[in-house]
């Protein structure tokens, strides 16, 4: 019970701290808009024939360009939450010199990650609501009720990303150049999951990596339910693999985090970066 209270207290602290930076809060909505959503929409629309995305229909079995971009972006946001909201926030605590006092509290160190994940989920939900509202009003995004059938897949992806956040937090604790690592790894993870294009377009050597990521299946199931796109595999099989990968990624992440913490204690490098 005490750990749950601590997790929510950490989440509250994260939400409060971030809300003090108004421009940063606004940029959680504006940055994806002008860096990805609007350019991707206009780029995709440049291939349209008589207002219809015939090329996308050939590739994916749906001509819903806006939906393709937004539902990919939804899981992309979730991936960003694990990389920046959880793993990199540990680095920020290191920079501000507050990681050592936090580490000395009686709270389990695993709870620190869970608390951050809860705080990041809050901002993730707010930004996605704002982005989807923009999509509906400005870009003509059509939402179908069937998209809610993909909710279990999204929940699985959230759990899997918490596991991956543990793994990343462990790496961030050990390396010195965390910014470049988080930035590039976040981008590659998103691209390999198919946030911007179907993974079948990746070079053959990268496809096995893509199929080992839980988010690949979550995006595919979401697009199948919400857009009626052609699935990569049988959706039942995709669910099975997604659940399996979630069950693996969570303990794997916890194990890596525990090992990183052990190494850090042994080398006395909590304050070094």
């Amino acid at each position: 019970m005490g750990e749950i209270r601590a997790a929510f207290a950490i989440a509250r602290k994260e939400i409060r701290g971030f809300s003090r930076y108004r421009i940063a809060v606004a940029s959680t909505v504006f940055t994806p808009l002008y860096q990805f959503i609007i350019p991707a929409f206009l780029f995709g629309a440049a291939f349209a024939v008589n207002g219809r995305a015939v090329g996308l229909a050939t590739t994916l079995g749906t001509d819903d360009l806006t939906g393709f971009i937004f539902f990919g972006g939804l899981i992309g946001g979730l991936i960003g939450m694990a990389f920046w909201g959880v793993a990199f926030s540990i680095r920020v605590e290191m920079d501000t010199g507050t990681l050592e006092p936090t580490w000395l509290t009686p709270t389990h160190h695993e709870t620190l990650v869970i608390g951050r994940a809860l705080g990041s989920l809050f901002w993730f939900a707010i930004s996605q609501v704002a982005l989807f509202a923009f999509g509906v009003w400005v870009l003509g995004l059509r939402l179908r009720l069937e998209m809610f059938l993909a909710l279990p897949a999204v929940l699985c992806a959230i759990l899997a990303m918490v596991g991956i956040a543990y793994l990343l937090a462990g790496i961030v604790l050990l390396i010195r150049e965390a910014n470049f690592f988080v930035d590039t790894a976040n981008f590659l993870f998103g691209m390999l999951s198919g946030t911007a294009f179907p993974v079948t377009l990746l070079p053959g050597v990268l496809q096995p990596i893509a199929f080992a990521l839980p988010t690949t299946y979550a995006i595919d199931i979401l697009r199948v339910q919400a857009l009626g796109s052609r699935p990569l595999f049988d959706p039942a099989l995709e669910y099975l693999v997604l659940i399996g990968l979630t069950l693996v990624s969570y303990p794997l992440g916890r194990w890596v985090f525990a090992r990183a913490e052990q190494a850090m204690r042994r080398r006395g490098m909590l304050a070094q970066y």
Binding site: A46, A57, A196, F197
Partner: protein
């Protein structure tokens, strides 16, 4: 030593300082190898998803973009994007960095012209810029097996060199303007985002509404990107785009004058309010 010669010496010293600082942080160059290769490559794959190799879709794209070669179209756009990134994060934030380190006041009390701290750091952008273009070309060759004709690459290089003053001036204007802001990173993102949306970096300018297309004509990067695509994709020559180059050079002069005026205004204001050390 004449005043001009002394200022020139100070200018080269300021440039050398920037290059030395870059050398001290070699990991920063990793990003200049990674992003120019991977970012455009991912957009080319997006282009493949959107086109589906459907001839009709590719014809529609060619009508709007002037070519159906999506890979070169995207890589040229991203060369400009990376150039703008290096410029805004480097020269564009140079004065702000001096302010953060507490050295801007010391720079201001030297007898060197104010144009030295304003324009000197821009030289530091040239090295990352060259590295970015090289990574771009290499990635285009390795990932997609495309290498434009050598004659076209040489003409593209001429256009880039002639575009340097305009981009340099944008960096100086940005550097002077952001001295007023407390937090500079979101401003960099915003301005870079504006260029991405307005200058046809990832999509053809023809996709924008008319008012945005007219605004795009007031920005030098729009002309530079279009001219580069002209020589690399449409077989145009430097002579064919001479009119655009004249506009780019004129915009460079106007932007540089504006940068000097903004910097002068802020300096006068700083003398009155003592805000140089405050941020």
């Amino acid at each position: 030593m004449s005043l001009l010669a002394a200022d020139l010496r100070a200018f080269f010293a300021a440039a050398l300082k920037e290059l030395r600082q870059q050398r001290r942080y070699p990991t920063l160059f990793l990003g200049q190898l990674f992003w120019p290769a991977i970012l455009p490559a991912s957009w080319v794959l997006m282009g493949r998803a959107y086109s589906g190799d459907d001839p009709q879709a590719l014809v529609a794209f060619a009508e709007r973009a002037g070519s159906s070669n999506v890979a070169v179209f995207v890589f040229v756009g991203y060369a400009m994007y990376n150039w703008l990134s290096a410029l805004l994060w480097g020269a564009g934030t140079a004065l702000r960095q001096e302010q953060l380190r507490g050295t801007l006041e010391a720079v201001f009390v030297t007898p060197a012209s104010r144009l030295v701290p304003l324009f000197g750091p821009g030289v530091g952008t040239l090295l990352p810029m060259a590295l970015t273009f090289a990574s771009n070309l290499l990635a285009l060759r390795i990932f997609f097996g495309i290498f434009p004709p050598v004659a076209a690459v040489i003409q593209a290089a001429v256009i880039v060199v002639l575009g340097i003053p305009a981009l340099y001036a944008i960096g100086a204007l940005f550097a002077a303007s952001v001295l007023r802001f407390g937090e500079v990173a979101p401003v960099v993102q915003l301005i870079r985002g504006m260029f991405v949306l307005a200058c046809g970096i990832t999509f053809p300018v023809a996709m924008l509404p008319l008012w945005a297309q007219i605004s795009a004509k007031l920005m030098a990067p729009t002309y530079i990107v279009d001219d580069l695509r002209g020589v690399l994709l449409r077989g145009e020559t430097v002579a064919d785009v001479a009119g655009d180059i004249a506009i780019v050079l004129s915009l460079a002069a106007v932007t540089a004058i504006l940068a000097v005026a903004v910097f002068g205004y802020l300096e006068r204001s700083a003398r009155r309010t003592g805000m140089v050390g405050r941020f």
